[in-house]
Symmetry: none
């Protein structure tokens, strides 16, 4: 065996590879795969690479995941849930606007902390490789957000038009912010993220002044969905 690598900073006190419990191994694999998949892409990342980075043997992957594709999906769902959880745990505020800003800011913090998560879910989701469960998990996140938007609609803060549309519009702009934060092009404390979050709200907000007048009923919307 040519090179045994000891990743920087790890105080390797045990000469023989420590008896890791299964949980730890699984997590190491998830971490390794997440980093590899988001930095090189799924297809460009090989299972030997994942194993090496996780510090385990090639075969070990298959004790925890039935296939490379399942590994991806497991990771994906975990990543999506992080964002879903944030939406659920962000307390609603007096205004929808404030509420959504909070969510965006917290998501931004996730992006700053764990860029890979953002890349996997928002920047370059491996759409064609996702299974039903993963798609459902993503839809759940979207729905959770849509609830917030919908509440904004009933309070008249959100402009006319279907809530799901404004959810997507808002997401699209927040995605831009997350991407830039994840790639460290923007720091969370800079003005750019805030500007984009603001404009995300503006793009779905009911117009001020005249526009803020009571919205016409949307009951008649024959929106297909």
């Amino acid at each position: 065996m040519p090179h045994t690598s000891n990743p920087a900073g790890t105080p390797d006190t045990t000469p023989k590879p420590r008896r890791r419990d299964a949980k730890q191994t699984r997590e190491r694999l998830v971490r390794a795969a997440l980093e590899l998949f988001t930095s090189q892409g799924y297809h460009a990342s090989t299972t030997p690479q994942v194993a090496r980075r996780a510090g385990v043997a090639e075969g070990t992957i298959y004790r925890h995941f039935t296939s490379k594709e399942q590994l991806l999906n497991d990771i994906y769902r975990g990543a999506v849930r992080v964002f879903t959880q944030v939406v659920r745990e962000t307390p609603s505020k007096a205004s929808c606007r404030e509420h959504m800003m909070d969510i965006a800011v917290r998501w931004g913090e996730v992006a700053a902390t764990d860029a890979a998560l953002v890349k996997l879910v928002f920047v370059a989701p491996p759409t064609s490789l996702l299974d039903d469960a993963s798609r459902k998990a993503h839809e759940e996140m979207r729905l959770e957000l849509e609830k917030v938007v919908a509440s904004g609609k009933s309070s008249g803060e959100v402009r006319a038009g279907p809530a799901y549309l404004w959810t997507d519009v808002w997401l699209q702009l927040v995605r831009l912010m997350l991407e830039r934060v994840a790639t460290r092009e923007w720091a969370t404390q800079h003005s750019a993220p805030k500007q984009v979050i603001d404009s995300a709200w503006d793009s779905i907000a009911a117009a001020k002044g005249v526009r803020s007048a009571p919205q016409p009923s949307e009951a008649s919307l024959p929106v297909g969905r």
Copy 2:
């Protein structure tokens, strides 16, 4: 599948397909690869698949492109240039707003006509596989657009903040529209594309009282999704 295919309209006078002129073969390859790459992804598309779909032998690919990666980049540049060209050819209007709406609408028409182009450039660009020339071509398009935004800034129509930021913001929302149009979730004549284009402008427009002009009724929204 019949073993002799006669593409629409071509008066196939030659019984054997040998001796197509080079131009035609190259174009068939580009078309086949574009469709495959955008529907399955680059890595999932194999050279035998590309060749089969183009109706040529595998080796023929390499008479026209030095590698699969170069094929991708050639296609990508071609696709980007289509959008750049639209920006360049769209005449400027009295207002920046109108100008940008025009561009968005024309891009939308491209999306409706040739979905693959949109997918390649906006929906899932193969970022990590692009060479310098391709990146430059993309940057050119962005810059062309930025000029328009900048002119809007000087006329006071665009909100405070750097022009490149608002370019990206606008692009982000137009991207949503293009994606939905490309996937046929939205038709160009529907209201959703228009709504998103509007909100794209709103998200970068300087906040005015003027904007609050009476909106047309939304009652007719036949938004597909």
Copy 3:
């Protein structure tokens, strides 16, 4: 061809061929490649052929060698070292002549035992495919031999002229012998090998009688090399 081969003498206790230890597999590959390369040439030998002859899957080659070229070089170096070792282990005699005859004879024995080794190193060395390490290994062998020739020069047994030249001359003739022995055109106990070995010595020996006179200075030799 039976689907389970049991190479001579191996007490095949395991019914399925999986889990051979690495050493064995590598050696089988080396053997297979050596035979193929020397009988058909490097380019005419394909990796499927090598694998089949070694009784392993094609991919297995690449667990032991990084490329077909590296496989060749590994084999080449191993072969060269056999001859180098013989030179090193042959004890020097009273006369240089005797010493070199010994070496030639032992080399001849190697040729009789393992013809492929001779073909690879002397008959048709794959010169343009050798890497630096391989070239160095070959040079080492030559140098080891040159030492012997040099000692013959100082004792006056070897004719005037540079030692490296006579080394090459001697090698050239011994090469003829090795080739014929390797191809079984000559058996080691026949007179032809002996005759050639004799003439190899004669071609570099100082002349008897008249020629054994004190050697002229070699200062004037403008031999390019």
Copy 4:
């Protein structure tokens, strides 16, 4: 068509590629292939390369040769005949020694003039690719030389043992000289070529002085061949 090359120095007066007569084309192909084959090896040289170097289209090769292998063999036979011709045309001298020295010197001149010829015939003959005609041509050359050696035997100048053996021995050493001259390691006017030619003769010459004692009968020779 990307690049049209105009090989150095050719005063390309005719704008369209000159109407070459067949003879000329064939010769250009032979020359190009000879150079390529001897510098890179047969397998490493591709037919497109040969065609490009000859300044003709790929398909043109097959108007003059039925296959790449036949091209090689045609070239090989031509090369061998050059050396055969030299042997035939070198007038015999008073002594066999002088005669053979003459031949060696003339061959050396060929090597200096046209290194590729020597490489193809002596340094790295493509043994496994030669057809019967080529092998026969080579044998013819050898036989022509053997005649000279045989005449040396009957005059007592050549040592005891079969003429064909001494022919091979002599060839082996002359081959060394030719190789070095061909690679420009040695110039023909240097002493090394001469030294090696001398020693080539010595290795097959009957011993002078003491060694010139009556030769033992050759009846006992059990030389395999």
